[in-house]
């Protein structure tokens, strides 16, 4: 049974008239890699800053390791933050940057020296002790920022889009580096990003947020394969989201055509949203498909071709390793298991009642 480390209870926060977080409840378990994922303005960074102590919620409480820390200033919290723009101290050497937190805690000189050595080794930057931050590349600075945070042995490391400013290749390398660090250190990572790929790659748990509400909490596989609503389906990966009617258990009518599916319990003749991932659509000979359509366009994307297929008045997005020339008549077939049925939300930003 994992231990509950951080518990956010009924958190609300607004700036002026703008409501950022509305009555949010979320808990985080020990030794997990938890990612807050969402578009800008969804409240993910505010959530992180509330945990870090840089913002105070208007209402609600922050419980850390059983203690209420809602009013505790950042310097008295047992967690450390890695900032988006590194925020290294520009007038100090790498060594002094890393030692900063330890000196405040009045650690011995020998202890600090060992820790610096250990931390630099951990982030693969041995020998950089005497360098100044501005002589390092962005990726190196970010790793120093991580080293500076982890030498304090926080129970939780908060990361605010730490890879946002790095280029693609470096970002991918750093993703693996972060996973390795988390496993070696055995501490909780709370990671904020708007990059769904990053979230899917690194996380144990993803919290998808939009407009101050939690949309879905789950493992990367859950989030990707079984999005709870159209927002999540749309935000995570590419998808075909279609207004449909659930006729009865295991039978859904999509664009006037009946498709067998595996979902039950939605009732009879109930309007629903259907999500079908582009890679789950199989293009067949017209006679073998459930629907018949015509290829509009095909683009080579590297791993696969991306095609648009018009069928029953809807343009389907299809990913396949085999290209069908534009103009070709094709059949569309979908495995019942790959049809994801979602209740229609009552409003745009309805909260989904799901907990980890």
């Amino acid at each position: 049974m994992a231990k509950k480390l951080i518990d956010l209870i009924d958190i609300s926060k607004s700036y002026g008239n703008k409501l950022i977080l509305d009555d949010m409840n979320l808990y985080m378990n020990e030794n997990r890699f938890l990612t807050l994922l969402g578009p800008s303005g969804c409240g993910k960074t505010t959530t992180l800053r509330i945990i870090g102590g840089f913002e105070t919620p208007d209402t609600g409480r922050v419980i850390f390791d059983g203690k209420d820390i809602t009013q505790l200033p950042p310097n008295e919290r047992q967690l450390n933050t890695v900032f988006q723009k590194y925020a290294l101290f520009p007038h100090m050497t790498i060594e002094e940057n890393i030692a900063f937190g330890l000196k405040i805690k009045k650690k011995s000189r020998a202890y600090i020296k060992d820790k610096i050595k250990y931390a630099l080794k951990l982030v693969n930057l041995d020998g950089y002790e005497k360098r100044m931050p501005d002589s390092l590349s962005g990726g190196q600075q970010q790793r120093i920022a991580i080293a500076r945070a982890i030498v304090n042995e926080p129970k939780v490391l908060l990361l605010d889009e730490p890879l946002g400013a790095l280029d693609l290749k470096l970002r991918q390398d750093m993703q693996y580096e972060l996973i390795r660090l988390k496993n070696e250190l055995g501490i909780t990572f709370i990671y904020v990003t708007h990059d769904q790929e990053e979230a899917l790659t690194m996380s144990d748990t993803i919290v998808v947020m939009n407009q101050g509400y939690i949309q879905q909490i789950g493992t990367p596989e859950d989030i990707y394969n079984e999005p709870q609503n159209a927002f999540v389906a749309d935000f995570i990966g590419e998808s075909n989201i279609i207004d449909s009617v659930m006729l009865e258990d295991k039978l859904v009518e999509i664009l006037g055509t009946r498709f067998p599916c595996v979902d039950v319990g939605f009732g009879r003749n109930q309007p629903v949203d259907v999500v079908i991932r582009p890679e789950d659509i199989v293009l067949t000979e017209p006679s073998d498909g459930i629907l018949q359509g015509r290829v509009l366009s095909g683009i080579f994307k590297g791993v696969h071709y991306e095609m648009e297929v018009e069928a029953n008045g809807f343009v389907w997005l299809v990913h396949s390793t085999v290209l069908k020339e534009p103009g070709t008549q094709v059949g569309i077939w979908v495995d019942p298991f790959n049809i994801q049925i979602m209740n229609k939300p009552e409003s745009e930003d309805e909260e989904v009642e799901v907990r980890e």
Binding site: P74, N75, L88, P90, H91
Partner: protein, 275 residues
């Protein structure tokens, strides 16, 4: 063609520099190293070491250090407050502190006269509160107060400019690593504002050292600074232009030395915002 055009545009400035800076400077050099008979001498330049002149120079130095110290002690906390205010997007209050710089300097000094005169505002106020009057007029204290007031903005703005450049994240990172307010002030804010402090010190120390108008207006002739000595050398009944030039040159030498120190520290160019 572009180059030629640029040269033509720079022309008026070149003429200005030549007529009003380079030629006068050469004249000062010539006068400084010659006597009234036109013969070469080092006497005018060396005259700074004469106790008659060295006394006022030493006084000027002490007073300008005092002025700079007062400005620094008042300006740093104010700049911190202004930084806080400007981060709340209230530039109007910042503006209020810049505004006095645009007011005539004579007027500002005259205002101090009215405050410090024996029956001025200060003593009237003290009288109302039934306290003993303070006679500050025509003292060093009056000159120091007036000079500090006049040069105060030159201290505030460079420090303020250095402070607003400090990234909010850097301060929050220090907080995150366990630093309290005093540690943040001492180990983050202060070291990062040093270029601004150096700029401010230079911009207050240098002009206040050669100041003579304020000394005349608030010192009433009793406070005799090196600026007054030089002024006397040019304007008094027994004027000696050569001596004045020599003393000016020596003073300039001192100022150049402090400017070198200034360029050494002020790489960020906080002072440039003033000009």
């Amino acid at each position: 063609m572009r180059k030629l055009g640029a040269r033509i545009l720079a022309g008026p400035y070149m003429i200005w520099m030549l007529v009003f800076t380079i030629i006068p400077l050469l004249l000062i050099l010539y006068n400084a190293f010659t006597n009234t008979g036109g013969q070469f001498t080092l006497g005018n330049v060396a005259a700074i070491a004469d106790p008659v002149n060295a006394g006022p120079l030493w006084l000027s130095l002490k007073m300008s250090v005092a002025v700079t110290g007062i400005c620094l002690i008042l300006a740093f906390p104010l700049a911190l407050i202004l930084r806080q205010i400007s981060s709340d997007k209230n530039s109007f209050i910042v503006m209020i502190f810049i505004l006095p710089m645009w007011m005539n300097f004579m007027l500002r000094t005259l205002a101090w006269r009215l405050i410090l005169l024996n029956n001025g505002f200060l003593n009237q106020a003290l009288n109302i509160m039934d306290m003993d009057p303070i006679y500050l007029m025509n003292t060093k204290t009056a000159v120091i107060l007036g000079t500090a007031y006049d040069y105060f903005p030159f201290m505030v703005l460079p420090i303020y400019n250095a402070l607003v450049k400090i990234d909010r994240d850097v301060i929050q990172a220090a907080q995150d690593l366990g630093a309290g307010d005093w540690v943040i002030l001492g180990r983050i804010i202060l070291p990062l504002s040093i270029p601004g402090i150096v700029s401010g010190i230079t911009m207050v120390l240098v002009p206040s050292m050669s100041e003579f108008v304020i000394a005349s207006m608030l010192g009433g002739g009793k406070v005799y600074m090196i600026g007054n000595v030089i002024e006397q050398a040019f304007n008094s009944g027994y004027a000696d232009t050569h001596l004045g030039c020599g003393l000016s040159l020596s003073l300039m030498g001192l100022i150049i030395i402090s400017m070198i120190a200034y360029y050494f520290f002020d790489r960020g160019g906080e002072g440039s915002a003033l000009w």
